[in-house]
Amino acid sequence: MKKLKFVLAVAAAALGLSYLILMGLRGAKVYYLRVEELLSSPELWGKRVRVEGEVVPGSVKRGKNLEFQMAGGGRRVRVIHTGPVPPLFGEGKHVVVEGTYSRKEKAFLSGKILTKCPSKYEAGR
């Protein structure tokens, strides 16, 4: 009897936890792509994704919005960014942008830039 109760309790806890994890996954998972993957997966255009790439030197334009070209896997995408620009952003830096690819503007509209910051910084090698 005691064993049955124990098994039931464990099962209930496991079920509850898996349910929570599934709920969490549903709301929060974001595709994480490289530039060439983004350009070759039209089914993900318009969806919220993260894209990793290198800021093409000489392409950064700071106007009303920040605009730059991001390269990866031999391809490039234009990024239009609105929002704060983190300290380590710069030409030639490796960055991750979060946002959606717009078919209309043929550009990635980013709302967030993540740079690689230096808890254990190895000077940009």
Partner: protein, 592 residues
């Protein structure tokens, strides 16, 4: 080979020797004594190596590659010292040194069979770290001597650099001794390991907490690190052992197998965290160098975890059921750890399974931590007969009333108020009891719990904050945000050595209150820019202002209101105060 490298090789030799004599020591006590001697050697050799590295930094000896990459002539001497742990090579050496210091302290203060048994485990872990340090080679010489070093990354020139990494290391490394104790204890059937591990855990837990909190505070004022907590893999790596360590501190004394499991898992998680941050297995905002060293850690986890599991299965010591609520709280904490673990490795695992890399937003963690966190508070409330007294229920009702008056709707605010108030009421009740009886050590424990409730309250409030980017503001222009009125009065440039600090002067009005904030940007000669964030802290909310862009005649600002931030920090301080109080009370018993 230079002196530093020779010292490291000798260090490796003596720790291998200590391991061998430690293993032989389980049969003959003479060998155990030899092993203790070798530990003294390990400590002195690693200390000398560390001193040599520190002196190289202070003396600007750029012939060392590591020094040249992390320092320069102009660096203030404090940061030259902290640069010792600014990169992988140095931080591994620092790790080795702290580990040898802990082992020596432990071995010198204890001369019984149990500590003899812990000796080979400690020495083996030391051997592993010796190998790592040798492999990464902090004493590598450059073929030429550069005129000046590359300098420390400007973001690391922060006072937090003095406190944050060492306290994290003290926390992480401190879990090695109880790991060794538990293996020795379970293998020999000596149940004293548990009480003694708890004292070490309290010490390590305190420093791990200090490390995490200082990290939060640092991250809070750096733009682009995502606020005080962003569920970044590196942050998660420190949270996971913290959760299991907390579970162990709550583990009832008679649950031997459960406790053994927690001690081993905590130790492995500290190594796993190091693996995560160095292997490039997942990507992080706080990027570490990718290096092949990462997989050494993985191999070490498999080896040490495997042998611990083997010892655990063969070990003597019976599991007896005890301590319903304490045990339950441990289970919930472990569930939280499991969730953090899954969420952290999800990007890499999803790539293996589906070929597509996926990332998880903070939403994943928040969705799960909220309900489980609430259940922790329910346990806070009902433990130690909290239901029998009117105070917890009273405070619970009061906070529910307040929350409803403030207009909160929906299940979360209401449940949070109910459970949070209940928990706070009960811990206050316990604290009052111990305060009256003059038992300050136990009072320390309650202080930790009160701090936790306050911290959680602040963390919840902070999720209700707002942020906004205001662009193209010219001098003399006004803008509004979050109930504040801002006027940009002008800019003031301050040229400094090797960089230029440009500050904006913002006049801020909120109701009748007026103050000035001067967020700035610092432009370095190397082309890097850092942000001087300004935070106006109030009791109920923080106003956070950063200047994110500046041209000849206009500037952009990033603004954020963080409600409850002061509760986060004051709660954190209470937790630390309580933990140190408990440590001091157990001063005589510690380190055994």
């Amino acid at each position: 080979m230079n002196v530093g490298q020779i010292l490291l090789w000798l260090c490796l030799l003596s720790s291998v020797f200590a391991s061998i004599s430690g293993v032989l020591g389980s049969k003959r006590a003479d060998w155990a004594r030899v092993g203790r001697f070798s530990s003294v050697a390990v400590f002195s050799l690693s200390s000398s190596a560390l001193v040599i590295l520190a002196l190289a930094f202070l003396g600007d000896d750029f012939s060392f590659r590591y020094v040249a990459l992390h320092s320069c002539y102009d660096l203030p001497w404090v940061y030259k010292l902290t640069a010792v742990w600014a990169g992988q090579e140095g931080s591994l050496l620092f790790w080795l040194w702290v580990l040898s210091a802990f082992s020596l302290t432990f071995l010198l203060r204890n001369r019984d069979r149990l500590s003899d048994g812990a000796l080979p485990v400690l020495s083996l872990v030391q051997t592993f770290f010796c190998l790592l340090v040798l492999r990464s080679d902090p004493f590598l010489k450059l073929p030429f001597v550069p005129e000046d070093g590359r300098g420390l990354n400007p973001l690391l020139e922060s006072p937090w650099m003095v406190l944050h990494p060492p306290s994290l290391y003290l926390g992480y490394i401190g879990f090695t001794v109880p790991f060794a104790l538990s293996l020795a204890g379970v293998a020999s059937g000596d149940e004293a390991w548990m009480e003694r591990s708890k004292r070490w855990f309290l010490f390590s837990w305190t420093f791990l907490t200090l490390g995490i909190l200082t990290g939060m505070k640092w991250s809070y004022v750096v733009l682009g690190w995502g606020g005080y907590w962003a569920w970044d893999p590196v942050e998660n790596a420190s949270l996971m052992p913290w959760l299991t360590a907390t579970a162990f501190l709550h583990s009832p004394p008679r649950r031997k197998s459960w406790s053994f499991f927690l001690v081993v898992v905590t130790f492995e998680l500290t190594i796993f965290g190091t693996f995560l941050t160095r292997s490039g297995f997942v990507s992080s905002v706080h990027a570490f160098a990718r290096s092949p060293l990462g997989y050494y850690f993985l191999a070490f986890i498999l080896l040490s975890g495997g042998s611990a599991g083997w010892i655990g299965l063969r070990g003597r010591g019976k599991e007896r059921s005890e301590g319903g609520i304490m045990f339950l709280s441990g289970l919930v904490l472990c569930a939280l750890c499991l969730v953090t673990f899954l969420g952290t490795i999800f990007p890499a695992v999803s790539e293996l399974l589906s070929g597509r890399r996926m990332a998880l937003g903070p939403g994943f963690f928040n969705t799960i931590f909220a309900p489980l966190g609430l259940s922790v508070f329910l346990l806070f409330g009902i433990c130690r007969k909290g239901l029998k007294s009117p105070l917890p229920l009273g405070i619970s009702a009061l906070s529910l009333y307040l929350v409803l008056r403030l207009g909160a709707r929906g299940p979360y605010p209401i449940l949070a108020a109910l459970f949070g108030g209940f928990a706070l009421g009960n811990v206050l009740l316990q604290a009052l009891r111990f305060l009256r009886s003059g038992d300050f050590g136990r009072f320390g424990r309650d202080l930790v719990h009160i701090g936790t409730v306050i911290f959680a309250f602040g963390a919840y409030c902070s999720s209700l904050g707002t942020e906004e980017e205001v662009e193209g503001v010219g001098p003399g222009e006004d803008f509004r945000f979050g109930g504040y009125d801002f006027t940009l009065e002008g800019f003031s440039p301050e040229p400094k050595r090797g960089r230029m600090l440009l500050k904006a002067k913002l006049r801020v009005k909120e109701g009748r209150e007026e103050f000035t904030l001067s967020p700035g940007m610092e432009f370095y000669e190397g082309g890097q820019t850092t942000y001087k964030v300004e935070v106006r802290s109030g009791l109920l909310k923080d106003l956070y202002v950063a200047m994110t862009e500046v041209t000849r005649d206009a500037a952009s600002f990033y603004l954020k209101v963080v409600p409850g931030a002061s509760f986060i920090w004051s709660g954190g301080c209470l937790v630390l105060a309580g933990a140190f109080l408990s440590l001091v009370r157990r001063k005589h018993a510690a380190f055994r």
